[in-house]
Amino acid sequence: MSNLTGPNIQLNELGQLHHFLTIEGLKQHHLVEILDTAESFINPKTREIKQVPILRGKTIMNLFFEPSTRTRTTFEIAEKRLSAQVESLDIQTSAAKKGESLLDTLWNLQAMQTDMFVIRHAQSGAAQFFSQHVAPHVHVLNAGDGQHAHPTQAMLDMFTIRKHKGSIYDLKVAIVGDVLHSRVVRSQIQALSILEAREIRVVGPKTLMPESPDAMGIHIYHDMEEGIKDVDVIIMVRLQNERMTSALIPSEKEFFKLYGLTKERLALAKPDAIVMHPGPINRGVEISSAVADGPQSVILEQVTYGIAVRMAVMSIIMSNAAQLKQHHAEQEAAQASLNLDDPLTLDAIVEANS
């Protein structure tokens, strides 16, 4: 997984997002730009998210190699609210079945005038792999790859926290559950630490905890009561049964007894603590219905904010592409102006200023 690191895989020569593959390696200003832009899509009074015409004429293709309800639907809504043309492909039922290689599928879809791919895949690193093989003007967004990353989910979580707490800075956050298998948690931890949360705790049984907590800047708690004491934010994570290859927990009932979030346990956190869950929730396994539907739960808000945050990421990437093009035109103009006899000079200058 270490070969997925580094800032260069998703930034253009101006240091701006070109793809959005992972939170890792991004600077605070990248994340704040996403949060601020998301804010601009939401009516401050009605919380309504209005359709805007900025991606008119752009084609965005959603490639879901793994099932998804929330992420896929909110991506589609976000794309439509930006006025893009949207195509969603269920890969399980398409050419992949007929033996076409992944790259051939990708290149064919790219030839259909696609400007952006949104990709979910069970394999860690899949989005990055795609990003290395698309044309320079095509962008790739990671909608979840294996156990690696789910950056838009992490950003919508940061957005929800910021909405309630004003900022991420100095907060104590507890993430409870299956941390080991969760790409969401991996991205959340990176985002929380870039945005300078005071303390990031992960809570769960030994079998579901990461191996190198110190390198991730997190504190591990095996005791739920201790782990959520005095925190500002509790993030519950689903047990990823589909990614568990062996028996890591005795039973779901046992898990709830030890780590389930109940009203009584929630009382140990700060009185104004918020409860989050990236979904889908397993009622009675990691969270009780009383908490999931209770006053401190912001689970459904997360879903709504997911639309605005995904709109933000997509519009920032297309905006960056426009600025890069402008930058290149200006560079060309500057270079041409060095030689005023060059007949192309005037054209280049006009182009740069138009």
């Binding site: 804010e39 009516n43 426009a322 600025q323």
Partner: protein, 170 residues
Amino acid sequence: MTELDIDVSSLLENICEQLQSRAIFSQSPKMIGIRTGGEWVAQKLHEKLALADSLGVIDISFYRDDFSKIGLNPTTQASDIPWEIDNQHIILVDDVLYTGRTTRAALNEIFDYGRPASVTLVALLDRKGCRELPFQADVIGMSLECSQTIKVTGPEPLVVTILDKQEEIA
């Protein structure tokens, strides 16, 4: 370069008088200011005219026709129109009417909310002769030559300064 401060309050008075004499004024018109300068002007007008409904504000950043060239404006905020647009008489306020492109974007956004009964365009200042699209304001505080560049600062105090470009070049 010469700098000339404009007497904003007399321009605002002038605009209010013109608006009050229009037929729509008796039909409970609703006002929208275009962020940022137009919002400041609209706040003043809205107060002076004592309009019943609260002021609407639109941010046209997402409606600009040069997104594919320059990208997003980093200071973009959500538009806020707190009432229905359908069948309402709208007073649309901007600080400076210049190429007409802002007006185009604002009208497109307004029509995304609904179908107004009418739109009356108000500009504090009109830079004549540089229009790139066929828009004229219904109510103007003051007309200027195209060559005169304008700086508007606000919201409190609202100050308009005219910079004479020709002299600047000379």
